[in-house]
């Protein structure tokens, strides 16, 4: 538990010192929203509003890929990754700390992006804000768990920026499908379909366990 908190504290502190990751993710996210607006002719119509949940999640996935790709950049200097591998506990706790930091940073970006999205696509999010936050958290948990695991994998390969999306996207399909379906339903009639939530919970559980156990091997030399 201590290791989890130590890594979380360290990551957030390093991020706070430079804030470059969160700013990059925010700017990128907002740019994506603007690009979407221009690529859908006719502005905010009923048709575009129907695709809004999907587009929102695409923006979230792109922002997440950007953030995850940079989450181990501090560890590349001075071989700090080996320094972390020396912990006298299960290395899965290191994963939890890193994953939690990634989730928090992503969460901030997601909140701001959602507001901008609501403005651009003229969707009112206030009645479902709480439940939407819950769905987004559930989906992002899946994103950040295997995302953190494979960010650690990608950082040990030759083309890490390219490697991460290649590895992650096929594995993210269940998360994406569940999240988009739940978000659509929330915006349409305020309910969250049980099947989608169930899929997200199962996927999150599987990916969390896999990442916790797998991290031990990924940090080994």
């Amino acid at each position: 538990m201590n290791v989890f908190l130590a890594i979380l504290w360290k990551d957030l502190l390093v991020e706070w010192r430079s804030r470059d990751r969160v700013v990059a993710m925010l700017v990128f996210s907002l740019l994506v929203v603007v690009v979407f607006h221009f690529s859908l002719p006719g502005g905010a119509t009923a048709q575009t509003r129907a695709t809004a949940p999907g587009l929102l999640w695409i923006a979230y996935v792109f922002a997440a890929l950007l953030g995850l790709g940079r989450s181990f950049s501090a560890e590349l200097e001075n071989e700090a990754l080996s320094g972390i591998a020396l912990v006298p506990v299960d290395r899965g706790w290191v994963f939890l700390g890193k994953g939690a930091a990634n989730l928090l940073v992503l969460g901030v970006v997601q909140a701001v992006t959602a507001c901008v999205f609501a403005l651009v696509f003229e969707v009112d999010l206030t009645p479902v804000a709480g439940r939407l936050a819950g769905v987004v958290a559930l989906g992002s948990l899946g994103l950040c768990s295997i995302g953190t695991l494979f960010a650690a994998v990608a950082v040990r390969t030759r083309f890490r920026e390219v490697m991460l999306p290649l590895l992650l996207l096929p594995l993210l399909v269940p998360v994406l499908l569940g999240s988009v379906r739940a978000t659509s339903a929330l915006l349409a009639d305020g309910t969250a379909p049980f099947a989608a939530i169930q899929l997200l919970i199962v996927t999150d559980a599987v990916y969390l366990i896999l990442s916790f156990l797998g991290f031990e091997y990924v940090l080994e030399e």
Binding site: L149, T157, V173, V218, E221
Partner: protein
């Protein structure tokens, strides 16, 4: 594994496989009746479905060997996992190529986002990502370990993908030909031979590939197939 013990065993195995292929060809193309609704185009399924078996079998082998590799640190398991992925992606490509050919002949369009085809497409991407990960990582021990983690992740993702797409994805347009009695009269045997041939071909190619890798590696291995 070191694959086949020697060249003559491998040759004999190739011979058996060719005989099986001839049998399958004869049975499927010449003897089997044409499907009443779909016509002769249905016969491509004798290739499509067995290849799908082999493609999924391939990833199962990769995932299981990955697990054993992580548990034992024995590089022989990694060799089999890598070879199974290389062979599996071949069969997976065949599935994705033959699928649209059948689809165009029966439904009238090249592609449909039905669950099985979509999951197979995702499997193809997972295979490719696995192979790219292997080629972009330096150091064989690190490659083996990272690839093993991805192999297991991919294997877990496939059933998750299936449930996800089944619940929310496209229309189910695949014929339910895994149930008993759903195949027409006279199609059972050619179908079974087809599956046996594909699995045999997969195993044969796997052994050849592992044998190739083992002959290059200095440590080799003790297990082998003797003819």
């Amino acid at each position: 594994m070191t694959g086949y013990a020697d060249g003559s065993t491998a040759l004999r195995a190739s011979g058996i496989l060719l005989a099986l292929l001839a049998l399958a060809y004869g049975g499927q193309v010449i003897l089997a009746p044409n499907d009443s609704m779909q016509g002769v185009v249905q016969k491509i399924l004798y290739v499509h479905v067995p290849c799908a078996f082999a493609a999924y079998l391939g990833f199962l082998v990769t995932a299981v060997c990955s697990g054993f590799y992580l548990a034992t640190n024995d590089e022989r398991y990694d060799r089999v996992a890598a070879a199974a992925a290389e062979m599996g992606v071949l069969f997976c490509t065949l599935v994705i190529v033959t699928g649209p050919i059948w689809a165009k002949g029966t439904w009238g369009h090249w592609w449909a986002w039905d669950p099985r085809l979509t999951v197979t497409l995702l499997l193809w991407f997972i295979y490719l990502a696995y192979l790219l990960l292997r080629s972009f990582t330096e150091g064989s021990e690190r490659t083996a370990r990272l690839a093993a983690v991805y192999g297991i992740a991919g294997a877990l993702a496939i059933p998750l993908n299936y449930f996800a797409i089944d619940l929310f994805g496209g229309a189910a347009m695949h014929p339910e030909n895994l149930q008993r009695g759903s195949l027409g009269q006279g199609m059972g045997w050619p179908f079974a031979v087809g599956v046996a041939t594909a699995v045999a071909a997969f195993a044969h190619l796997l052994l050849l590939r592992v044998g190739l890798e083992a002959s290059v590696s200095p440590s080799g291995g003790r297990l082998s197939i003797r003819g």
